[in-house]
């Protein structure tokens, strides 16, 4: 079943917002966890202390806010489009994540990893060309 034309515009718009907020959220989480340090002590009290530090971190909260905005856009788009369409189509965010990781966090990204990310995006483009809904309504 094909989506009515009116749904394509708002689907693309919401998937764009998902890509931006999702990738920015992940980059901010990495920034926060980098400040907190690598988790290496597995004792429950040490883990609890780490998670407590996590929730006192500004970047982590900004990341969570960004991911919540991602989640709202995601839940809305899922109300009319298929999961196996929305999930891959939102993956253009992988390119944004790599770019933001490189630009904001100064991550060293080998050429092969860039190629891998681009191949992921190519797969996403193929997936995005399929109809957003295949199941009947109701």
């Amino acid at each position: 079943m094909k989506l009515p034309h009116r749904l394509h515009g708002k689907t693309i718009c919401l998937i764009g917002l998902m890509a931006i907020f999702g990738s920015l959220g992940d980059v901010l989480l990495r920034k926060g966890m980098k400040q907190i340090g690598a988790v290496s002590n597995w004792r429950p009290d040490a883990l609890l202390a780490t998670f407590e530090r996590t929730f006192h971190s500004g970047p982590i909260w900004l990341g969570i806010t960004s991911l919540l905005l991602f989640f709202v856009a995601y839940v809305l788009v899922l109300s009319w489009a298929d999961y196996s369409y929305v999930q891959p189509a939102s993956a253009t965010g992988y390119l944004f994540v790599a770019l933001l990781g490189y630009l904001l966090l100064g991550e060293v990204i080998p050429r092969m990893r860039w190629i891998g990310v681009l191949v992921i995006c190519l797969g996403v483009l193929l997936v995005g060309g399929t109809p957003p809904r295949t199941t009947e309504e109701g």
Binding site: Q87, L105, T134
Partner: protein, 124 residues
């Protein structure tokens, strides 16, 4: 990638995908969101939270989130996030077998390319 990374990646992917499928199931029961007025959206959100599937989905997504935080404390985001794209395999299978969605050959090809990309990211 260490064994520790692989274990946490597995939790991120399985719990995250399971959570998303449960949330999708809830939203499909609620039906298409047509109005974006805040009070209408709030009503949709409240309806969603009356569903057990929504809570189950959120619990799994929370588990996935904390596992992701652990991974991000060890590895770069430009490695961790693309590698989590392995969830596409699980997503396509879950969509097909659990939600009854029809996954076209072209979509399967896209999913296969995503897997190849993940492999290249790991090699890089």
């Amino acid at each position: 990638m260490t064994v520790r990374d692989a274990v946490f990646l597995f939790i991120v992917i399985v719990a995250g995908t399971g959570g998303e499928l449960a949330v999708t199931h809830t939203m499909k029961q609620i039906g298409e969101v047509q109005s974006f007025y805040p009070h209408h959206l709030l009503r949709v959100i409240l309806r969603a939270f009356r569903s057990g599937w929504m809570w189950f989905g959120l619990a799994l997504m929370t588990l996935s989130f904390f596992s992701l935080l652990m991974l991000l404390s060890w590895e770069n985001v430009s490695f961790v996030v693309p590698v989590t794209a392995l969830s596409y395999v699980l997503g396509a299978f879950g969509g097909k077998f659990l939600l009854g969605e029809r996954v076209e050959p072209r979509r399967w090809l896209g999913v296969a390319l995503v897997c190849l990309g993940v492999l290249l990211v790991c090699v890089g």
